[in-house]
Assembly symmetry: C2
Amino acid sequence: MTEPTRTGRRPGTSSTREAILTAARERFAEVGFDKASIRSIASAAGVDPALVHHYFGTKQQLLTAALDLPIDPEAILATLAAVPDELLGETVVRLIVGIWDSPVGVRAVAAFRAILSSADPSLARSFLLEVPLRAIRDRADNPPGTGATRAALVGSQMGGLLLARKVLELEPLASMPVDELADLVGPTLQRYLTGELAAPVAGGAASPQK
Amino acid sequence: MTEPTRTGRRPGTSSTREAILTAARERFAEVGFDKASIRSIASAAGVDPALVHHYFGTKQQLLTAALDLPIDPEAILATLAAVPDELLGETVVRLIVGIWDSPVGVRAVAAFRAILSSADPSLARSFLLEVPLRAIRDRADNPPGTGATRAALVGSQMGGLLLARKVLELEPLASMPVDELADLVGPTLQRYLTGELAAPVAGGAASPQK
């Protein structure tokens, strides 16, 4: 704060921030979100762990920064936490499509395309599994053991909707109002989240089927 | 046929074939499948239209060749045509996932990733709209006007499933047996194809909603 700057960030720190972000991307991709400790990321970047917390806050916030996401996933998760179970499906559609369609959506779509064209999708998988899908999994794990399947199914439908609406710009989905999308796709997510899934699901009891 | 070759293809024609394929890719991307005539493709390639038919057969077969797909979409469509309406959802899952998981699936997934990372997705959109999604649209257009929406929704779920299973390799979807996937995702496709869609759909009567 010795001189006024637009961001309020101190001069001379951007290379340290970048070193931390680079180390974080590498660790998250290598060992996944859970096993990548702030300590190991700090060590790889050659800085004190306290500095990582100082610049980026929590490990989730560091992951968000490492992915250069234009939004804070925790804000979305907090919103969903307040929604009753029976409205989760359409709320997820409204919330997520709302972000794609917002001014920051261009960056979200660009990040999605970058992830898809990357030769190694492990950073993307790490993010998906450890932040949005984990939240869904824990919320929707009923009966116990079904949460991971439910979350992955939700991810598959929303990923495909992003693909159709924003990457391929496939009509009528590309220009459909979000209310109509919520009516059409919401019930799919609702079944994935809270419906009785016909099949034996991962983590369930041993099945007599092949 | 003047000399034996493994493919039976005449020598000296590969540059002509390539010129036709290049012209076809450009025309399909520029004006879409419907408006790209064999005549205009032949003209751009500097050959007689009869030669295009001779090498590639129908315009659909030319599109398949232009996309370098490892499978013939018409064979899949013929299979689906024989399936009763109420089994369409799970059959689509079994048939399409079966291709991804087969030896040719590696190439199908590579083609999908190439499409996604291409700066201009119009060739992919042209293919999707004019071959698989058109077949679904015509089959599922009940009540009339709903077919395009139904087809695009099916495309969104299957595209997202390909993304989750084959690109991101997201568990438990990545290694789930196809029978279980058909049980989980089949009902989604079935509703998109033949269910009563809650919302006013594209092409339907004017809606009182905004």
